[in-house]
Point group: C2
Chain length 378, copies 2
């Protein structure tokens, strides 16, 4: 904050509030460049006091009261004030600008996201627990996948299992218009259908009003069944994808799966401290192209996404992006990211793998651990 | 749009895109004051063409291409351009402002929301189907509620049932930081705990990172078990709340339930075409105060919300608000809204009712229809 010339940052978005306060209440957290943060809470201040370790928590009746409350807690009026402009709607920002008439508003979203990008040992421990939940859901899928069941029937059973295992049933996605369920469960040709999300796989979904994930298709033999699911523990996520099939898959898909494992292997070799995230992306993309997947890698031709991995934690789409042009991001100790090489064959299906990794002091550690072999069921 | 002096509105948010295009794809819909809308689609244009009845759908490679694509389709450069500034993040708005350098940006969110506020016969038919789904979930709850089961166990079963009945598993809430599941299922004292949402009831939830709805409490006899659930059909929602109990409830809660039915009855009498929504709110609030609920109505003291009802359809929080100060909204034919008089007794529980209504040419019609008597189970 000092480097960015900021006097304070006003944190208002749910995921950021959870990260900085340990709870999510309606209100705003004032984080000054020096001194103690002040949590101004509309609803509910009592819960904020119970759930947050922060010392300074005060009820907030109206936004116009903010300057007086800051003054009463010894905070001088800020001249340069940071906001999460990547997520804050314009109408809210304009209201804050009226409250802080004499302050210059600055985009602090990158700053906030870069703080959150580096995970503590405690956060990584939660993500390890989330990996155990992701594995339990994968194990449950092994048990229940049957020919003729719909993708939605499979999803409903896995979502129920996740919920009983503690999953809150909600995935936070930072992107504007980001909407996501616990898991994407898609079989055969449906797994190759692109959707509006910035994800390599989309899925048909139950209806055009929610055209992603599981649809009404019945699972058939000899086609890939994709389970891309977000395990959860104590507010933290991991991301894992595994593929199932009833009987054998066509040779092209089998070969593609092995090739995606090869790209994961390449990433494991080169993802070391100091590696630029754009270079990591380009080298893995080049390998996919060499292997013959230029028109299939990370989405069907015309709907390919420009990343192979993404940071994650409280949100499913955190820093760093392992993406085209992500030259501002260099791998460093304490980062965590998902890596998901996948290929899509329209009309046939999608295949690939995803795991969540952590860059520890001893190098890359894999947090998700479910068996990486294709699962043949039935 | 002509009245507001707008040359066009740029629609980008998922719910609005679904309303105006019949699909949700990543991109933007350009709606000119005269002429044919143009849907500019990043991902996926093929799906947009399959799912949308709109004629003019073109792929969009980059935002900077928008002016040229508009020109190629005969649209003059807009001078006053509307945006959904209630939901559009500042960073996106700034990018659009660079694309439309010569246009003045105007907040069109109220305009968009007022168009969506009036429901067609087709939309009401979907909401009737959604009411049937809400009733099916209520019936399922009657069957499965048992002493000793946790609220989360009950929620998991009901969510599974809703999913198998077609519910996509995602509820759209327009408010910034709005997050919601299919249903809030809360029992006893947990039902009286306020949360960050702008809702009369909150719930403890599974964890401070998602502190709303069902938690780990076990259902006991003689306490209210609240089921507030959003039925879904073809992208449309209804909202319904019913209360269950194992054995009898304490007299104070029984009386409060009857009193909430009385407030619903008052609303049914006075909610006619031409009634101001602020007045409707004030008259129902006054009745609640007369009945002795000043400190309990629509939330526990200190966390009371300032509304008793809300429009709904594609989103759970549409216009009109039946709320303090909602003087700009007057009941008119074709509106649909949920009405939810509820009271909260900290340490004991919450109780109340919610139904979804439609103002038809013949007057107020109730869309949700589950039995309104308190359900005694076990």
């Amino acid at each position: 904050m000092a480097e960015a010339g900021l006097d304070a940052v006003l944190v208002t978005q749910n995921a950021d509030l959870f990260y900085f306060t340990g709870t999510i209440q309606s209100g705003t957290l004032y984080v000054p460049v020096t001194g103690t943060p002040l949590y101004l809470v509309r609803k509910d201040a009592g819960r904020a006091r119970e759930e947050s370790p922060l010392r300074d928590i005060v009820p907030l009746a109206a936004m116009r009261d903010i300057p007086a409350l800051l003054g009463a807690h010894g905070h001088p009026a800020p001249r340069r004030l940071g906001f999460e402009l990547d997520v804050l709607p314009v109408a809210f920002y304009e209201r804050y600008q009226k409250v802080f008439r004499d302050a210059e508003g600055v985009d602090a979203s990158s700053l906030v996201r870069r703080v959150r990008m580096l995970k503590s040992d405690w956060e990584i421990a939660q993500m390890r627990a989330a990996a155990r939940q992701a594995d339990a859901i994968y194990q449950r899928a092994r048990e229940i996948i049957r020919e003729g069941m719909t993708d939605i029937e499979l999803a409903a059973e896995l979502e129920r299992a996740a919920r009983l295992a503690g999953h809150p049933g909600f995935i936070r996605m930072r992107s504007f218009n980001g909407e996501m369920l616990y898991a994407h469960v898609c079989s055969g040709p449906d797994s190759a259908v692109p959707a509006y999300l910035d994800t390599p796989l989309g899925g048909v979904g139950p209806h055009p009003s929610f055209g992603q994930g599981a649809g009404w298709r019945r699972i058939q033999p000899h086609e890939p069944i994709i389970l891309d699911n977000a395990g959860w523990a104590e507010g933290y996520l991991v991301d894992q994808t595994r593929v199932f099939a009833i009987g054998e898959l066509p040779p092209r898909l089998m070969r593609a799966y092995d090739d995606m494992l090869r790209i994961q292997e390449l990433m494991r070799e080169i993802a070391t401290v100091g590696m630029n995230c754009a270079e990591l992306y380009e080298r893995c993309l080049s390998r996919a192209q060499e292997l013959g997947y230029a028109d299939h890698f990370m989405g069907p031709r015309g709907a390919q996404v420009s990343f192979i991995g993404h940071g994650l934690g409280v949100e499913i789409d955190e820093f760093p992006p392992i993406a085209r042009g992500a030259t501002d991001f260099v791998l460093a100790v304490s980062m965590a990211f998902a890596f998901e090489p996948k290929v899509v064959f329209p009309g046939q299906g999608a295949i690939g793998i995803e795991n969540t990794f952590h860059l520890g002091p001893q190098g890359l550690e894999q947090l998700t651990f479910s068996d990486e072999r294709l699962v043949t069921v039935g």
